[in-house]
């Protein structure tokens, strides 16, 4: 399943993932493959993405550049202040604000 994580300033993650956990405003939930279509607002909290093989691009905080990787099963966690998630046909769009400490995993 594919995901794009966008902030108002840049794209911070895009690529193939196994699962994503988000702090929905009615409780945290996890999105796996073949999830029903959903649109939800997100509260302050942590998003964690588990990557899959097939390549993904992410914004590396230390170097401040977009990096590519193929490593599967990697868990990336980042704190957000709020946002929205949309899932449709295994395409996840995550719109978030207030990424504080970036991606670590």
């Amino acid at each position: 399943m594919n995901i794009t994580v966008l902030t108002p300033e840049k794209e911070i993650f895009s690529g193939n993932i196994n699962s994503v956990k988000v702090p929905g405003s009615q409780g945290a939930f996890q999105v796996l493959k073949n999830h029903a279509p959903i649109v939800s607002s997100l509260d302050e909290g942590k998003v964690s993405i588990v990557t899959a093989g097939g390549g993904y691009r992410y914004f590396d905080v230390e170097s401040g550049a977009i990096k590519e990787s193929n490593e599967a099963g990697r868990t990336l966690v980042f704190a957000i202040q709020g946002g929205f998630i949309e899932v449709l046909n295994d395409e996840v769009s995550l719109l978030v604000t207030g990424i504080e400490n970036g991606l670590d995993g």
């Binding site: 966008l6 902030t7 300033e9 279509p37 959903i38 649109v39 939800s40 607002s41 929205f84 604000t97």
Partner: protein
């Protein structure tokens, strides 16, 4: 003639110095413009996705979407946001933005201004300087005048959020933004746009229901989250546009100045050469005259 020669030489040198500065400023602006354009481009996917979500919800919604930000109220208190640059030397850019703002004050907000209920929120020093002196009948808000120093979404969202709050609390019944809309490096439009209340959000034809979505917390509640976020990105777009326009305008202005300096230098060189030739001719005449006098004697 020697004094004239020296004068011209000094002028040439001074023009050359100025040209060097304008050339450097043009180059700096070109680099900054590219970065400003990149910023506009990189926020676009986010804004588009947000709008996509909005349309998605609307297509699933029965009836019209109504939020507090669409409320049309009687115009008693208003706010005009004026986005200008911090520095000058960018042609008529700041003047044009201020003119666009003044047009709005004199037409749409004329009554509000006459009643002393107009707030002018200045972002960018130039606009602040302009309105501080001329429009003493309005409240001039300079608390965000330095926003261009830290143009992060966080800072922008704070300002936009406070405007939204004020509208919600009925402190303002309308908010307009005067800014420089960026088209390309050579063209910028300076216009005033209505920010609040937002135009009625209408379902577009052909907005087919894409899928049977689950909406959390609910369609109407989601709209209450979504609309302010969209408005904040709109505000951000205005700021980024102004920023890019400023650098575009400065680049064009400095390019023209450099060209002008070239023209000036060409003319100065001609007059310098003329003066030099004249001095030489005079000297030769003197020598020839002297020699002729000697021969005769």
């Amino acid at each position: 003639m020697a004094a004239n020669l020296k004068e011209v030489r000094e002028r040439i040198r001074s023009v050359q110095n100025t040209q060097q500065i304008t050339k450097a400023m043009k180059m700096v602006s070109a680099a900054k413009l590219r970065r400003a354009q990149d910023a506009i481009l990189s926020m676009r996917p986010y804004a588009e996705k947000l709008n996509g979500m909005l349309r998605n919800i609307l297509s699933n919604l029965e009836g019209d979407a109504e939020t507090v930000f669409g409320q049309e109220r009687e115009l008693k208190n208003a706010c005009l946001v004026v986005m200008t640059s911090d520095r000058g030397l960018c042609g008529a850019f700041n003047t044009n933005v201020c003119k666009a703002a003044v047009r709005t004050i004199e037409t749409k907000f004329a009554d509000v201004y006459a009643d002393g209920n107009l707030t002018i929120l200045c972002i960018g020093k130039r606009g602040y300087d302009y309105f501080r002196k001329r429009y003493t009948g309005a409240r001039i808000d300079n608390s965000h005048v330095n926003l261009f120093h830290g143009l992060s979404y966080e800072n922008i969202a704070k300002v936009a959020g406070s405007l939204l709050d004020a509208f919600e609390k009925q402190e303002f019944d309308a908010v307009d933004i005067a800014y420089g809309k960026f088209k390309n490096a050579a063209t910028q439009y300076t216009i005033t746009e209505q920010f609040l209340p937002v135009a009625k959000i209408e379902r577009e034809e052909g907005d087919a229901m894409l899928a049977d979505y689950i909406f959390e917390p609910g369609k109407v509640e989601l709209l209450q989250y979504l609309v302010p976020t969209i408005l904040k990105t709109q505000f951000q777009k205005c700021l980024l546009d102004t920023h890019a326009s400023e650098h575009g305008a400065r680049m064009t202005a400095m390019d023209k100045a450099t060209e002008n300096a070239n023209e000036l230098l060409r003319e100065l060189r001609i007059s310098y050469n003329k003066a030099r030739q004249e001095a030489i001719t005079n000297e030769i005449l003197e020598i020839v005259g002297g020699a002729a006098a000697l021969e005769q004697g």
